[in-house]
Structure formats: C-alpha cells, structure tokens
Amino acid sequence: MDIAVILENTIRALFNAEALILALAAIGLNVHFGYTGLLNFGQVGFAAMGAYGIGSGVVYLDLPFGVSLLLGIALAVLLALALGIPTLRLRADYLAIVTIASSEVIRLTARSAELRELTGGSSGVNGFSQGFYSMNPFSPGSYGIGWLSYDANRFFLLVVGWTLVALCSVLVFLLMRSPWGRVLRGIREDEDAVRSLGKNVVGYKMQSLVLGGIFGAFAGFAFALANSSVQPDNYGTQFTFLAFTAMILGGAGRVIGPVVGAIVFQTSLVLVENVLIQAKGAGYISDRILESTDIGAVRFVLVGVALMALMIYRPQGLFGDKKELALDAR
C-alpha cells in the first residue's frame, strides 16, 4: 500500500475535469429537481446537445467556435421545449420516463450510421477544440501548486470551467432569491397552491427546464473540450445518474449543493478506486473476490450504494434542509 500515491491521486481529483463536468450537470439538475421538483432523468441529453453543438458545429458545419457554442445552447433550449410541451402537464414519473427515453434516442441517433455526415456516427467527432485552446492566454508550462499542477491547456480549461461553475452558481443564487425563484419552489412544494394563485405553472416549469438544460449543455461543452472529442457512448444514462447522485449528495435545493456534491463525490470515487488498486497491488484482496480489471466497475456499485443509502437515510444530502425539501411526487 502506497499511501502517498493514494493521497496524490485523490487530491488531484479535487478540481479535475470530471468533477467540473459533474458540477455543471448537477447545477442544471438542481434547478430542475432541487428547486422545481421536475424529475429530469435525461440531463445527459442536454449535455449531448452541447457537446455535439460545438463538435459537429465546428467539424461538420464549418461554423466558427463561438457560433458553435451558441448552436449547442440553442439545441439544448430546443430539446427542453420538445420535452416539456408533452410532459410538463403530466405526473412527475412520466417526465422521468420521457426524459430518460429521449436521452437514449439522442445517443442512438447520434451514433447511427445514417447521421455520419452530421455527427460522425459511432466514431464521434474529433478535432474541434482548436478554437478553444487557441484562446489560451497561458504560455506553455506547468501551473498550480504541488500535486495540483496542470499543463497550460488543462489549466486554461479548468480556470474557464470553474469560473463558469461560479457564475452559474451565483446566477442560480440570485434567481432563486427572486420572486421567480420563489414561484419555482412553490411549484415544488405544492403545484396546485401556486396554480390557485393565478401563476402559469406549466410556463414556469418550462422556464426551469430550459435554464437547467442550458447548464446541462455547459457540462457537455466541458466534457467535449476536456476529451477534445465527442464519443456518443459517453452520453449514456449513467452520466445523468452520476450527476444526480452528486446533486443529492451535496444537497438538492441548495446553491452550493451540486458543486460540493460533485467534488466530494468524484474525489471519493477516486479515493476508493486508488485504495482498491493499492490494496490489490499489495495482495490484500485475492483474485477470487475481485480482479484488478473490475475495480472500475466497483465504483459504479458504490455509486448505486451511495444513491440508495442517501435516499433512504439522508435525502437532504450534506447541506440540504430536510424541512425545505419534500421529496415526493403527487
């Protein structure tokens, strides 16, 4: 067991791109689920819209990088409208089923050979990130302190990304303090009460869906740029559920919840993975119990256990307020 390696890898995971992507996706989910009570299980669909927006926009449509970003956002807004119109009038679990179905529709369509001219089919999109990294003001070299050191491009991505996380969080904070945010929370607690006050509930839900969807598209931007590639199979349902777990862990309905949740969640996954790898290397775990190649799968088992335990014993997560958050459907 090499404790130093475990520590180093865990600390490196604190602010890495995975935590950043999860945080952005979870901020969007928090607007949907934490503040409005919308059960969106298709957040990855919005991320895919963002990712394919910049990827396909630059590579297949020859758009400038900035316009591709706008395309990604526009696609996410369109998706929110397309999902919301049929389902926002229905009960919560219908929205859940339709959103998860639509996110799979997006993935399967994007990877199909029919759309190879537009999405690259199953091999995805590559070679679009030049537009982003050419804006990098940092000269090549190493940035950061100690274990938290990154090369110039990664550092640029992380600085831009975490700044975006901060801006989104501030925006959510301000919005949720506004009368508009109070209506959203009212819808979460009791839709009929809000309706009886003359508010257009479906309209507010739609606005929430669009806003959270745009944050989802930001997560897609970060995911695409961090890998410099868009692979359709990275946009499967597990992405949504990781973000969902991160949000619940941090505390749904709290501004800081999804951000802290994403960092804590991602870091603990890396910690567990590294402890397992080291324990395996030191021979503490026999092959009969666990082979070293299965360690990646163990983290998903842990995701599941964490999700179950949180929902049963601490649905408010680390920072949530149980009184404020009545997690239930009608």
């Binding site: 995975e18 049929p86 369509t109 049963i312 997690l327």
Partner: protein, 434 residues
C-alpha cells in the same frame, strides 16, 4: 474518467466461475473452471468477416482496421475468404477493404462499401460485412419481409410482456416505478446461464430453477428492501431513486462476477428455421412463443378468476379502499413481487436465447418495457401486455423503413407521441395521470 464506465474486462475463465459464485458460491468454482478454459483462451477481441463473390470466396484481399483515423491492425482473407484480425481492445473500429487488392472482375456492390463501422464488445468479436458483386438473392420487397418481421415482433412483444406485466403490477400496487426491473431480467438470464452452463443442467430444468429462484429473489427484495421503505413512509420519488441505485449495484455486480462478454446457453443456441407458410421460424422461437402465451393466459386467468387475482386488481386500483375492505395489502404486494420477478426471470431467459446472455441485457430492454407499460396504461396488467405487443411488433416492422440500429429510437418516439395524444395509455384510466 468519472463519466464513462470501464470497458476493459478480461475474458478469463475464472470470470464465469465467479458468475456462478455470486449466486451459488463454492461448489461451482470447481465445476466451471475446467469447462470454459478452451473457450476463453481464444477470445481476444477481434474483427472477423468473410468475403464472398457470387458464392465463391475471395482470397488475398487486404483488410485494415482503423480507430480514430489511425490504422491499428491489418490482415488478409484466407482461401475460404475469411479474415480474423486481432484488435487492441473493445470499442468502435472502422474496417477498410483495400479495393486495390480485389481480384479482377470483383467489385464492391455499392460505392463507399469498402468502409464498415464495427463495434467490438469486450471479449467478443465484431463482424464486418462487405458486399461484393451483384446481389444474387432474389430482391426481397417490403411485402415479402413483413410476415417474417411480424412473427419476430410478436415473439419479442410476448417476451417483453413477461417483464412489463410485473413492472406494471408493481407500479399499480405500490406506486414504485422500478428502474431495477431490467436487472431482474438480466439476473434471470445470468441465473439460467449459471445453472445451465455452470452446473451442466439442461436449459429447460435450468429455466424452471431460475424462475423459482427469481420468485424467491422477488420476495426477498420486497421483504428486505421495499416493505421497510414503505413502512418508513419513504416517498415515491425517493423510492424511484433507490431503485436506480439498486439497478446500478446489481448491474455492475453482474459485470464484476460475470464479465462483459456475451455468451450463449449450452442448448438450443444454434438451430435452423422451420418453414411455416411464408415465414421461417426457429423451433426454439415456437416454444418461446407457446410458453409465453400459455404463461400470459394463466396470469390473465389468475387475475380475472381467482380471489387473489381480484384482490390484486383491487389493490392496483385503489390500495386504501382495498385495505379498508379487508384485503391484506402487504400480502398482495409480496405475491405481486414474487410473480413479477419470476416472470421477469422467464422473460430474461427467453430474451437471452435470442440476444445472448450479457450484463446489459435487461438494461437495454428497460426503456422498451417502460414504453410498453406507459403505452398500455400504467398500473394495468392487460395494458402492459397490449403495450408490449405493440412495441414488439412496431420495433420489428419499423426496420422495413428505418435502419435496424434505429428501431429502439422509433419505439421511444412512439412512446413520446402517445404521451402527447393519450397520456393515460391504451387501457389506462384518466385519473391515474394526475
């Protein structure tokens, strides 16, 4: 990578032993260790295919494999026209036929046909199909293919119905949208595999054993997890999220102990079709359809005629009213779980017979199950059956008009459209949609 599940899973013999160990522990370890070694040694990931021009194999053609635009492996066809090229690991590859090496007079059937996308699954091989020469098959029209697809669709629908009835009744009686139902199906397929291949029991008794164990598992799930949660007053949404967590736990435990490769049962894996009128049906598919119809009719009769069936429908309709009229709601729910899980296990074995056993079998079917249940009307048993048949037939027939890889997309789009027009589903009642 935090977002992507691990893809590299070694196809070692030990794995199948461990698949068995998960369910039945030590005894199996000895049994399977010896039987699958030969299979495992040869199973590195590779790309395979056969070149055939009007019935004659084409030899000496260079085939290269690319990933992300870079060539990763290359090979040639042998005297049987066959090529087998080892690739570095599972994933998506582009297989390219070097048209310059084709013999004179042999040409690609259509332009651009020299590049084929192939997905190689962990421990498996991906088949690359290159079409050469004129099409010698009699051109099949849509009308010709329709009856065959219809039969395939009915079969798929019947198998889906095995899962959807349980899913729908569990929803009806407890309000739980069970996202772990797909893992019950996978569990059934794996359980059948363990008993069949691990213990060497013929598939038919193996299936019966699997169904019995599945029923017990359903009972255990209800008593061990869901009933305590109901007693605690856990909300429906919270329980839904718990079921997602459970699905994750089960799915990746399957992956750890069973591995990522697809496998076949020891019997009935390869058969030749029997002609019935205009369609050819595999004997096993006839049995699957026959057994499915029989089971579904029995379930229907039980629901319709027996006291218990009436109680079940009463609870599904209105739990509080049922409880106040003296029905033991908890007992009804337990029985629904037992039968729901047993049906899912049977469906899992049937599904695995046509699609192979793999840890994602049920996950892939889950959305179609939801589509079927929603289409039929949440909470109704007959609606779930009708919905499953519609979805099964629709996914198969849709391949007449759209690419086969998009058939699931078609079904899910139909689901979304139905929700716009008739949110309560075909047989659902209006007040359920709230």
């Amino acid at each position: 990578m935090g977002i992507v599940p691990g893809h590299a899973h070694p196809p070692a013999a030990l794995r199948s032993a461990r698949a068995a160990a998960l369910a039945l522990m030590a005894l199996v370890l000895v049994l399977v260790g010896g039987t699958t070694v030969a299979h495992a040694v040869a199973s590195g990931e590779r790309v395979v295919g056969t070149l055939n021009n009007a019935g004659t194999p084409v030899e000496g053609v260079t085939i290269s494999v690319e990933r992300g635009g870079a060539e990763v492996a290359t090979g040639q066809t042998n005297d049987a026209g066959r090529f087998e090229i080892d690739v570095p690991g599972p994933g998506d590859y582009t297989v390219v036929l070097d048209t310059g090496t084709l013999p004179d007079g042999v040409e690609l059937r259509r332009e651009g046909g020299e590049r084929v996308e192939v997905t190689v699954r962990p421990g498996g091989s991906g088949a690359a199909l290159f079409l050469l020469g004129e099409n010698t098959n009699v051109a099949s029209t849509r009308l010709d293919r329709a009856p065959q697809l219809l039969v395939g669709g009915i079969q798929f629908g019947l198998v889906l119905a095995m899962g959807s009835i349980g899913l729908s009744l569990i929803f009806g009686t407890t309000g739980l949208t069970n996202f772990a139902h797909g893992e019950l199906i996978t569990g059934g397929a794996l359980l059948g595999y363990v008993v069949n291949v691990g213990f060497g029991v013929n598939l038919i008794p193996a299936t019966i054993i699997a169904v019995l164990v599945g029923g017990a598992a359903g009972f255990a799930l209800d008593r061990g997890l869901w009933r305590p949660l109901r007693r605690r007053g856990t909300g429906l949404i919270a329980m839904l999220v718990v079921s997602i967590g459970l699905a994750f736990v089960l799915r990746y435990l399957y992956l750890i102990y069973f591995g990522g490769s697809s496998r076949s049962y020891a019997q009935y894996a390869t058969q030749s079709p029997v002609d019935v009128g205009p369609v050819g049906i595999l004997p096993r598919d006839m049995v699957i359809m026959g057994v499915s119809v029989l089971v579904l009719v029995l379930v229907g009769l039980a629901l319709q005629r027996t006291r218990f069936g009436k109680a079940t429908r009463a609870v599904a309709d209105n739990p509080s009213l049922a409880a106040s009229s003296g029905i033991d709601v908890d007992r009804v729910i337990s029985v629904v779980w037992v039968f729901g899980a047993a049906l899912a296990v049977l469906g899992g074995v049937f599904l695995a017979l046509s699609q192979q056993v793999g840890f994602q079998l049920g996950q892939n079917a889950l959305l179609l199950l939801f589509a079927a249940v929603t289409l039929g009307g949440l909470g109704t048993a007959y609606g779930a059956l009708a919905g499953a048949l519609v979805i099964g037939v629709f996914t198969q027939l849709s391949t007449l008009f759209i690419a086969a890889e998009l058939q699931v997309v078609g079904a899910l789009i139909v689901l979304i459209l139905v929700l716009i027009v008739r949110p309560q589903g075909i047989l659902g009642s209006r007040e359920r949609i709230g």
